[in-house]
């Protein structure tokens, strides 16, 4: 039986005087993929950051002991003139070159040698996104939290990143929490879907949640797949 890696009970978050999250409860087991859906301003990113201990909260967030968390933030901009190159960025973590090229393969990039010499600031949005994801994956966290990771990545890239994430991480007992706007291919592969608009709207298996009626409730108008 798989172990519970994260348990959230009656979670409430206020930022300033505003209630951003109300009375959320859910849990996640090893190997599971949870997708968090919701419109802009629903509190998805706040939920991730709260889970990471970056916001004060009321309620309970219980992580498995000694859990190693990886986080792909939604804000990672590099000033174009910063001379930091990709290799130096990876050396911030204690990694070697075979680990680095493995991490790049996971995100669907196969030619790191000359890529490693490129400055972070000269990468395209999509390349930078993949680089950050590879950076987070490189020391093999036991759960990864990704906040809108596919923004700026082409459709082919999304497929390959998502497929490799699923493949590599489930093999190694890693769990994934993904915040996404997309309700296409991504959600179908999830074990659980949490639809959010400050409060929990729906929570369960994707095939139960993703119906036109529910989507209309989540996003406020009719949406078709």
């Amino acid at each position: 039986m798989s172990e519970v890696i994260l348990k959230v009970k009656n979670l409430n978050v206020e930022l300033g005087k505003e209630k951003v999250l109300e009375d959320l409860s859910f849990d996640l087991e090893e190997k599971e993929i949870l997708v968090i859906l919701g419109p802009n301003g629903a509190g998805k990113s706040v939920l991730l950051r709260t889970l990471l201990g970056l916001h004060p909260f009321k309620g309970e967030i219980i992580w498995k002991r000694n859990v190693h968390i990886g986080y792909v933030p939604d804000d990672f901009d590099v000033p174009p003139d910063l001379p930091l190159n990709v290799k130096e960025f990876f050396y911030f973590k204690k990694t070697n070159s075979s680990q680095i090229s493995a991490a790049f393969q996971w995100v669907g990039m196969k030619n790191p040698p000359d890529f490693l010499e490129k400055r972070l600031g000269t990468l395209s949005r999509g390349q930078l996104r993949r680089t950050v994801i590879a950076w987070v994956l490189v020391d093999k966290p036991s759960i990864i939290l990704l906040d809108e990771p596919m923004v700026g990545i082409d459709i082919q890239g999304r497929e390959s990143i998502y497929n490799s994430l699923v493949r590599v991480w489930q093999k190694q007992n890693q769990a994934i929490i993904l915040v996404s706007h997309e309700i296409g291919e991504v959600v179908k592969k999830a074990d659980k879907v949490l639809a959010l608009n400050k409060k929990k709207l729906f929570y369960g298996k994707p095939e139960e949640i993703i119906t036109p009626q529910n989507l209309a409730k989540i996003y406020g108008s009719a949406i078709s797949l």
Binding site: L52, L54, P83, L84, E88, F92, E117
Partner: protein, 255 residues
Amino acid sequence: MEAQFLYSLITGIFIGGVAGYLGSLMITKRMALVGDALGHVALPGVTLALIYGFSVSLGAFPILILGIILIWLFEMRTKLPMEALTGIVFTASVAIAFLFLPEEKVSTALIGDISQVGAWDTLISAILCILAFLVLRKIFSKIILANLSENLAKVEHIKVERYNFIYLLCIAIVVALGIKVTGSLLMGALVITPAAAARNFARSFSQYSYGALLIGSICCVLGIFAFKFFALPAGPLVILVSTLIFLISLIFKKK
């Protein structure tokens, strides 16, 4: 070569190097002018040191710490932008200093005088420079990661506030030492210009930060030699050499 000149040279090499290295970090954090402002904040301490005849760095350091704490307290209390509060503290410091600064010491306070450093002063400066360099090297990657994404850094178990505090402390030490070479008025350039020049040459971050260290040291050596031969004040010469290197670096800047 006479001993006094050698002391000046050694002091310059160490201080110029660590100031350049620190500068590469400060430019990255968009804090380049902080060095300049803190140079001014230190003036009351420099004034005391000049009146009572002890090391200007020793006088500058406690005043710098006091200034940084004041800026920090004001920020907690008012939430005004840091730069405005720094402006208030540094102009007040200059005003206080000029009430007491003896006229014949004005130039030493403002543009430095490295021709008078003694053996002990040289030794202590060198040791402090090495210590500041080692600490900065240790916290370098963490500060840069926090600068790219503070949340990411925190998730990677980096104590961002603690590292920022250590970083500020290093700035205070380096500014206090740099005042010895180039004085309150010109200290800022010792941090900014070599690092800015190195950035134009550099193709990676290590080339950038170590390039800044090297250029900082070279500027001090050339400036102090120029002072020896032209009998002009050393501080301005050091800064003008670094400006010249910056201008040369423009040729190498990759578009």
